[in-house]
């Protein structure tokens, strides 16, 4: 079973993602509400997949992404952003994010992206 780490500062968003993943047979191994937490959680849990909001307090998504990728180059991270943040997404992809999702997220769209990343 694929192990997923969900990182988002919004509780609602995390819940939403959790539901989507669990419904599709993924296991949520951890949740993080800011960049620093996600870095620590990754070291500890070594998940198969991370979804990460690009805007997070304490440490933003891109910095966290870079930090994780530095230590774990194989990390599979999907960035989540709001509409109109293309340049940030571009930076994230350049920094090694595998794919991205634009809010509002849906189950279908999420699974399409996840499948493409895992394939």
């Amino acid at each position: 079973m694929m192990r997923v780490l969900v990182a988002d500062d919004s509780f609602v968003m995390r819940n939403n993602l959790k539901k989507i993943f669990e419904k599709n047979g993924f296991k949520i191994v951890g949740e993080a509400s800011n960049g620093r937490e996600v870095c620590l959680a990754y070291d500890r849990l070594l998940p198969d997949l991370v979804t990460m909001d690009i805007n997070m307090p304490v440490m933003d998504g891109i910095s966290a992404l870079k930090k994780i990728r530095k230590k774990h180059p194989q990390a599979r991270i999907i960035m989540i952003s709001a509409e109109g943040q293309k340049s940030m997404l571009f930076q994230a992809i350049k920094a090694g994010a595998k794919h991205f999702l634009v809010k509002p997220i849906t189950s279908t769209k999420t699974m399409e992206v996840v499948e493409e990343v895992l394939s």
């Binding site: 293309k86 571009f90 595998k98 991205f100 493409e116």
Partner: protein, 1060 residues
């Protein structure tokens, strides 16, 4: 040996050479045989004379002279024989006559020479040697001279005649050469032999055999140069069938004496005429490829016969043949000589030659047949090769033709694609890693992005002013071109801008990655640009309209709630400062306000006031930011933060919008909203045009129900009515009470029915309620009671009207009425009878309730609405009528104004008829719509039923002439003359369908809601249609080819056709 001997010896060698050469080339034909013999005769003569001059003594000279006679005595005969064979005259003589006639004189002269002498009586020795002395008085000398003269001249004449007769230029030339050569040599011989000795000149010896060399060479020249007989090697080089055939035909024509030669060759089991040459036409025609059976210019039966037997067929003179046995062609054209020659290759027939001479019989002499034999035997191989080559060439031609076609097609397609791209309304451009747009971009790109975009940087074109966007796009494209992993590339691609605003136009961008193949072709990005400005504008416009109507419907259907919300909001705007003063903690106040605004936002959202929602949302965000900024707040700040005036003006804006649509009746002061029917109708119509079907189905009934009223309202006039009635008939009655009836219905739908209820009340009053004194006697209350109850039961609307009168006496009905057969009926059945027309139990018909007419009207209405009547009769106590009507939610189906749709339909019709049927319509359609009950029909009419949102029948009627014109113009199918009449119906139905399809297309929101039935055809010329419904919409138009008419019969009413 002297010079003369040498000359003669040389001549001898030449003759010998010519003879042998001719023998070697053409050993067979008699002509060349004669020529050979002639040459040997010349040679013999020359040879003998060579030794005459230097003879040692007179005896020797005499011997050579006698010896030479074997040569010279036959020469004229051989010449004549040659000429006769050449000209074909030899045929006319029998061999046993001709040969002695020709050669006997020669034999005679030889005999004379051997035994005595002919020309040389004595020999004298001259300076050059021995020479004969010719006696002038010898009859033999004269005879010999005459023999020579007659034969040579005869030959000349024969050749001359042949020359004149023949049509072959070659033969003419040959005859000419031979004549000239013969005459030359004869004249020279005459001068040498006779003239010079007579003149006394004896220094020149007699050497006729030398002069005759001219003769021999002339003939040789004629033979070799003009191919008198020699045909070898002439065909072998020819490989092109066309040239070979031409050559062959010409050769045959020249050598066979035929005036017309036709060659047929077999191809795929069929004889095809492949060439023809005729002396009457200058050129010969080859490669016709005409099948034999299609030709009338050939004796087909003969050819068929020759084809099947492979035998040659010769007719010397067709005129002499039995006419009836001949081929039709021969009977008609009467050719004289005919020769059919099969061309055989290894025993197999590969073709036929047809030779014909239409003037001369016996043309095809054995000599010519022999030539033909040789020609054909030679040509067969060449012909085979050429045929093979020809078929190869044909395949090659076909291949190259296909190839050419293919190239052309590719070219066409390329052009077509370019045209397509240029006119697609989309721009296509591509660029490589350097991001410079390739020169090959479609024209539309220039319209979208500016004048010339070739070699311009794509990001700079897309974002000329936004540096950040441009740089981001550049970076992204760089990554895409660099990236090797397909998934990452796709991820980057999905980040590329999908829409840009360029020069106030929305341009949609789509990207296609075109993988390079290495080498010359680099990776390319293709971009498709689409102008979606209009689409976007339309979308926002539609969105706006939609939201407005949603708002209207929601506000109107929840008007009281809306009113409360408005009041609360206004109060809030005016008074929230009061709250501020209640508490000291600004944060708490702010939270309260925030919550309130949030609530209002939700409320307005519920009513669809999107403007308000948007504004309040902005305000909310602002407050939230302030709240989070953690700056110290005081009340003063708060007052500034909340823009109360603005908040009120936002509301006013929205209310103005509502007022605009709902009219002046919209007033906030009233608790209820009053909208007149007309504006409601307009709103409905407008909604129909802007919303999509799903939304219409949802929203329209709500709006529709606004027009519904409590059912009791339909009966509210009856209490007064009943009161009036009672006083008229002098009956005492408690006031009529109407109980229930709060359910809202479309009153218009039930209006007819509720009107007929008057009859029921009248009946109750008239027949039911007894007079006061009667009632008293019966122990009843003096005042009668009529009750009316309205209620809903099992989805039915029930109207119950009861009285406490005398009830209905079924006995009385049986006896009094015309119901003699009523005995077997149940009482309920009998009771139903009172609703029958013409039934009345009372003889004194009051002016109030006339007979049964009234009740029958009620029954009719109830049945129309699909309801039932139940009568509860309690004799002596009263009657209860129960009318139950199905409570149909008929309001869901939007009622649409038909003329509006008819107009749209006509506009569609006009376009279709103009574009597809080639008509010219004269006037704009608006002005021509009439509402009528009658319409004049033209010759042909099609009636198409429509169901769904628009119910009714469409009618299309045209004059026959116009229909015929449209049919030819429309030309969907090929129409035979006799089928034309039947096609008219198809045409009209087809056109109607197209028209409806078109009109629906321009109003896609109706599409699902209209179903067309099968057209009904009418052929009633000069008839008229009378519509029994409420009125039909008609439109008559005169076009340049005749009149046509459309009409729409709404509903399902009946119509009648009346022929006039």
């Amino acid at each position: 040996m002297n010079i003369y001997s040498l000359l003669l010896f040389t001549s001898f060698l030449i003759y010998l050479y010519l003879g042998f050469q001719m023998f070697r080339i053409r050993p067979m034909p008699r002509l060349s045989r004669i020529f050979c013999i002639l040459c040997f005769a010349f040679a013999h003569w020359s040879f003998c004379i060579t030794f005459l001059f230097p003879a040692p003594h007179k005896e020797a000279a005499s011997f050579w002279m006698k010896c030479s006679s074997l040569g010279w005595s036959f020469i004229p005969a051989l010449l004549l024989h040659f000429s006769l064979i050449l000209s074909g005259w030899e045929q006319k003589f029998k061999h046993y006559i001709l040969l002695p006639l020709l050669y006997l004189p020669g034999v005679l002269f030889i005999w004379r020479e051997m035994t005595a002498y002919v020309t040389a009586k004595d020999f004298v020795l001259m300076s050059y040697g021995w020479t004969g002395v010719t006696p002038t008085d010898s009859p033999w000398v004269i005879g010999f001279t005459l023999y020579y003269l007659i034969f040579v001249l005869s030959s000349t004449v024969v050749l001359y005649k042949w020359r004149k007769k023949t049509e072959s230029p070659r033969e003419k030339k040959q005859a000419q050469i031979i004549i000239v050569a013969v005459l030359c040599s004869v004249i020279l011989t005459f001068i040498n032999e006779t003239l010079l000795p007579l003149m006394g000149i004896h220094s020149i010896p007699r050497i006729p055999s030398f002069f005759i060399l001219i003769w021999a060479l002339g003939m040789w020249y004629a033979i070799t140069k003009y191919r008198l007989m020699d045909l070898s090697h002439s065909f072998t080089g020819e490989i092109v069938l066309e040239e070979l055939l031409e050559k062959l035909l010409k050769t045959i024509l020249e050598n066979s004496g035929a005036k017309r030669v036709v060659i047929l060759l077999e191809e795929d089991g069929e004889m095809l005429i492949q060439g023809e040459v005729d002396t009457s036409i200058e050129r010969c025609k080859v490669l016709h490829h005409i099948p034999l059976k299609e030709s009338s210019a050939l004796p087909c039966t003969l050819l068929k016969e020759a084809e099947s037997t492979s035998h040659r067929l010769l007719i010397d003179d067709a005129l002499k043949e039995e006419a009836s046995t001949l081929d039709p062609y021969i009977q008609k054209h009467r050719p004289r000589s005919i020769l059919l020659w099969p061309l055989l290759s290894r025993g197999e027939l590969m073709g036929l030659l047809y030779l014909e001479n239409n003037t001369t019989p016996y043309t095809f002499t054995p000599e010519r047949v022999e030539i033909l034999q040789r020609i054909t035997s030679q040509v067969i191989v060449s012909l085979e090769n050429a045929t093979l080559f020809s078929s190869l060439q044909r395949s090659h031609d076909r291949l190259s033709h296909w190839n050419q076609r293919l190239e052309e097609t590719v070219k066409e397609r390329t052009t077509a694609i370019k045209i397509l791209l240029d006119n697609a309304g989309q721009g296509f451009l591509s660029f490589g890693q350097n991001m410079l747009v390739d020169e090959e971009y479609s024209v539309e790109c220039e319209n979208l992005l500016g004048e010339s975009i070739g070699r311009e940087s794509f990001p700079a074109l897309i974002y000329p002013h936004h540096r950040e966007d441009r740089e981001l796009l550049e970076e992204m494209l760089e990554e895409i071109f660099e990236e090797k992993e397909p998934m990452r590339q796709r991820v980057y691609m999905s980040l590329l801008p999908e829409e840009v605003l360029f020069d106030e136009r929305s341009i949609q961008l789509e990207y296609r990655w075109i993988e390079g193949e290495g080498g010359e072709r680099q990776d390319t990005m293709m971009v498709i640009l689409t102008d979606i400005t209009e689409k976007r504008e339309m979308e926002s416009l539609i969105e706006e309209e939609k939201s407005i109507f949603e708002m209207v419907v929601r506000v109107v259907s929840n008007f009281s709630d809306f009113n409360v919300t408005i009041e609360e909001y206004q109060d809030f705007c005016h008074d929230f400062m009061a709250e501020l003063h209640c508490t000291r903690d600004p944060l708490e106040v702010l939270d309260t306000i925030y919550r309130q605004i949030h609530t209002f936002k939700g409320s307005f959202h519920q009513f669809g006031l999107s403007n308000m929602v948007h504004r309040l949302h902005m305000l909310e965000t602002e407050i939230k930011e302030k709240r989070c900024s953690l700056e110290p707040l005081d009340l003063h700040h708060l007052e500034q933060l909340i823009p109360r005036e603005e908040m009120l003006s936002w509301l006013d804006e929205s209310l103005a919008l509502l007022k605009n649509i709902l009219g002046d009746f919209f007033s906030l002061q009233e608790k209820t909203i009053v909208i007149d029917e007309e504006s409601l109708q307009k709103i409905e119509e407008h909604m129909m045009n802007t919303l999509d079907p799903a939304e219409i189905v949802l929203l329209l009934p709500k709006l529709k129900k606004l027009r519904w009223k409590p059912f009791c309202e339909a009966l509210k006039t009856y209490p007064d009515y009943v009161k009036d009635l009672a006083s008229q008939v002098e009956k005492c009655l408690y006031p009529l009470e109407i109980e229930g009836g709060d359910m809202k219905v479309d009153l218009a739908y039930y209006r007819k029915f509720t009107k007929t209820l008057g009859h029921v009340f009248r009946n109750a009053m008239d027949h039911g309620i007894e007079r006061p004194e009667e009632r008293r006697a019966l122990g009843k209350d003096e005042k009668g009671r009529i009750e009316c109850r309205l209620f809903q039961e099992n989805g039915s609307l029930v109207v119950e009207i009861s009285d406490d009168g005398r009830g209905i006496s079924t006995e009385e009905m049986k006896g009094g009425g015309e119901l003699s057969s009523a005995e077997h009926m149940s009482s309920q059945e009998i009771l139903q009878k009172i609703f029958e027309e013409d039934y009345s139990t009372r003889e004194d018909l009051s002016h109030l309730s006339g007979r049964g007419v009234g009740l029958s009207a009620v029954k009719e209405e109830v049945h129309r609405l699909g309801g039932k009547i139940h009568v509860d009769n309690r004799p002596g106590e009263g009657v209860t009528f129960m009318f139950s009507l199905p409570l149909e939610d008929h309001g869901v189906r939007p009622s649409i104004s038909y003329d509006h749709h008819f107009l749209l339909f006509l506009k569609g019709a006009k376009r279709v008829l103009e574009e597809q049927a080639g008509l010219v319509m004269e006037r704009p359609v608006q002005s021509r719509i009439n509402i009528t009950h009658r319409m004049r029909l033209f010759d042909l009419t099609t009636i198409l039923p429509l169901k769904g949102m628009i119910r009714g029948r469409l009618l299309f009627t045209v004059e026959r002439e116009l229909c015929s014109y449209m049919l030819h113009h429309f030309a969907l199918w090929d129409v035979e003359e006799e089928e034309q009449e039947d096609s008219y119906n198809d045409l009209l139905a087809e056109l109607l369908n197209i028209i409806i399809g078109r009109s629906l297309k321009s109003h896609s929101e109706w599409g699902d809601l209209i179903i067309t039935g099968i057209g009904e055809q009418l052929k009633a010329s000069q008839a008229s249609l009378k519509y029994g419904g409420e009125g039909m919409l008609t439109y008559i138009e005169k076009t340049h080819k005749g009149s046509l008419g459309f009409s729409f019969l709404p509903g399902t009413g009946d119509f009648f056709i009346r022929e006039e």
